[in-house]
């Protein structure tokens, strides 16, 4: 059961995603942006960070990295892929997910413990959650405003592809408070907040948020449980 975590130049949360995979009981495999194949991993996490400085648009350059060719093909074939933050931006740039992520409406980077509702629970990444469950995980981004045209948004809502939605108040101006979406099959999930940072006791959101700080771990146990079952 190997979960690949891709490192691009400028990836930052790659070690953290790998740690979360290990904490969930899996084996994390380091994939490099220049790799020509996926080394047979069973799932892939595209981690947070600022790939290539995010200078052109977030994820716009990383999307053309060699590893993305086989990854896009595999994702279309059903490989579970989770894009977190920069990874979500990258999945949108690569057209595996609809919409785009733009600069926060208040124009500042924001780092905070964010309440979310998990709305789609039949994906390989979210099956460990109850529908509508409220969780708290860190959110940290400068360009996390999810946007898409009305028709796409209606489609996402209609098909139940909104995976997570911000609760309480919208931290970045995302349309319809969308924090994460999936493709139609559900194997590809993009999420702006960082579940990997709420996976280890003592190093996640603290009790002020009303949680034990481990709300994100089930993204990783979900995928491993699913892989074991398969």
């Amino acid at each position: 059961m190997r979960v690949g975590v891709v490192t691009f130049p400028g990836s930052l949360d790659d070690r953290d995603a790998a740690r979360a995979v290990r904490l969930a009981g899996g084996e994390a495999f380091a994939l490099w942006h220049a790799d020509a194949d996926l080394h047979g991993v069973d799932a892939v996490v595209l981690p947070g960070g600022f790939s290539y400085g995010d200078y052109l648009r977030c994820g716009a350059i990383a999307r053309f990295a060699p590893v993305m060719g086989p990854l896009v093909d595999a994702a279309r074939g059903g490989l579970p892929v989770l894009g977190i933050c920069n990874g979500f931006q990258l999945l949108c740039e690569a057209h595996l997910l609809p919409g785009a992520l733009i600069r926060n409406d208040h124009r500042r980077f924001v780092c905070r413990d964010q309440p979310l509702a998990i709305e789609r629970t039949d994906t390989p990444w979210t099956r460990g959650y109850a529908p509508g469950e409220r969780i708290v995980v860190p959110l940290k981004n400068g360009e996390g405003g999810y946007v898409a045209d009305e028709r796409t948004l209606d489609e996402l809502e209609g098909e139940g592809r909104v995976v997570a939605r911000y609760l309480d108040d919208n931290p970045n101006g995302s349309y319809r408070a969308i924090a994460g979406v999936s493709n139609a099959a559900g194997n590809v999930v993009g999420l702006m907040p960082h579940p990997e940072h709420a996976s280890e006791p003592g190093f996640g959101p603290d009790v002020r948020s009303g949680t034990d700080g481990l709300d994100g771990l089930r993204f990783f146990t979900s995928i491993l449980d699913g892989l074991v079952r398969v």
Binding site: P9, L12, D13, G48, C111
Partner: protein
Amino acid sequence: MRIDTVQRATSSADTEQPWAELGLKPDEYQRIREILGRRPTSSELAMYSVMWSEHCSYKSSKVHLRQFGEKTTEAMREKLMVGIGENAGVVDIGDGWAVTFKVESHNHPSYVEPYQGAATGVGGIVRDIMSMGARPIAVMDPLRFGAIDHPDTHRVLPGIVAGVGGYGNCLGLPNIGGEVVFDPCYQGNPLVNALCVGSMRHEDIHLANAKGAGNLVILFGAKTGGDGIGGVSVLASETFDTAGPSKRPAVQVGDPFAEKVLIECCLDLFAARVVEGIQDLGGAGLSCATSELASNGDGGMHVWLDRVPLRDSTLSPEEILMSESQERMMAIVTPAHLDEFVAITAKWDVEATVVGEVTTTGRLVVEWHGETVVDVPPRTVAHDGPVYERPMTRPAGLDALQADAPTAGRLARPSTGEQLGATLLQLLGSANLSSRAWVTDQYDRYVMGNTALAMPDDAGVVRVDEESGLGVAISTDCNSRFVALDPCAGAQLALAEAYRNVATTGATPLAVTDCLNFGSPQDPEVMWQFAQAVTGIADGCQQLAIPVTGGNVSLYNQTGATAIHPTPVVGVLGVLHDVTRRTPSGWREPGEAIYLLGVTREELGGSSWADVVHGHLGGLPPVVDLDAERVLAQVLVAASRDGLVSAAHDLSDGGLAIALTEACLRYGVGARVALHELCERDGVDPFAALFSESVARAVVAVPDAAQARFADECAARGLPHLRIGEVTDEPALDVQALFTLPLPQLRKVHEATLPAAFG
């Protein structure tokens, strides 16, 4: 373009040179001529002028800074693996791990271009840490601005905060603390200090020296452009003169992506053991890196300057030597390791160029297309710069300032419960005591997954070793109002507060770094303040038995003739054997007892109360008691280790009233306290009990089962301790017989101020 070569310099001894424009004094220029036995070439003049500037040579401060080394005893050196003089000090934290940390200033560049100034400040200190062989693991930024409602504050603050965040966030380093302070004395001269901490295995320590004749000198990272030519060095040495012509140099622009890649590349290079010596390029660029590497090593180096990759092909040799382009490093590599070195830099798409080699000639020789443009003894550039014993005078107004104590007759005091509650709210919503979240929420505190505590806790705590949980705590502090009232005591109070903050989390304080921000050294009163503060810190460190491992001096912080309050920012680093056992600053369990540790005296000189309520600064700061700080720290560390406390928060600005409020607001859990026993024991009234800023105090929450052991622990060490109340399940701070304030009201007041000021 005519190149000024050594040959020309020898034959044209009388050529007029712009030494004065470059900031050199007549006798300094004369000394350069004596060293060389001829006039310097223009490239040599550039090197000497930049390396002999105040910023690089510490020429005014050196005579005082010696105390840091002289007052470090053998016992204090026990954990010190690398001391003052290198890029950053290194301390042994056990289990084969070492950490290196340092704080530096980037004040003047941040005034000129707030975003890039602050960003490149972060970038510079991170490279210092990298050049010791360490992986940078956290940053923190002590910032100081003018009054919260002053236009200049609004010009610089948003950019500086965004710059700190923009660079640090993109670099993937958690920002775990720091300070944001407002005071009119910083109007027109904000302070942007940046601290970085890094970790490494003992065997990975690298030093900045060029040894081994024939070894190669490799420049790697970004290309060299016209960034900040004369930038940091000239900027940091000249006061802004609004009347005079603009000396504004090209601003340095930071590229955090390039630096992130450089970090990973350096760590791969270290791991492959292909680096003999390494130096970052910061202020004074290649002039500094080549002369320091050579001076610290075998003494000689030959550089082919025309091989330096340029972003701007029109740059002259002088400009290339002075350029402060960011994200560059210089390594000394044996020829046998060259291929491996280049393979690693290629993996990271980092450009690496052999620009020179180590020699044993004792000379630093720089060649430009076959002609020699520099031929100097490197030590005279890097280390044997001028040293000044500047005149010092006790400030004329100091006696009057100290005599103006905030007595009850001088300043009206609140006395009724209602008045005391209102005073607490006024302080809580003030510029300096309100929530810093508007600023700190722009910094990523989670990245790397090792952050165990960050703002608003007393100190930032990060894990170093994922296996054992071994980690470090760091805090920076300075109440410059105290330093203005008494520079020696004020500097010791800064040290004491940082030390206490670190101990409050359960960490054992281990080492000190400082960033000494002062006015012009040519003002004897400023020089006196500087000397007093350095003596205060050096003596204080000796008493606390923790060494100063490095730091930075920033002078000329003034607008016109008015200097800032002397601001010696002190950073203390402590070690925790298991960071998951750290003590947070807020309580969570209703029913736990709240103890006040330490003694409260009526000490209101320079206090937040006098400042916020009366706009008053006068009298004497609180009495320093470092022995009491040591005892308090011992108890806090032992209690954390043994699980006797579940929360601890130090008392500083705003006294007990603010400490209790912050401990309640941290997790939104209330408290009920009574002050009559405290007032009786310490002979103070409720006003002083709440707002005095006496040192060596903390509040702690103690679980029921641990109370007896905790009290015994305090008694055994002779630490005054008093149970003043308990944690409640009512969402309020109830100070019995005086006032009750609901937490939602306190939170609203606390959190409204910065968003209201800055949107």
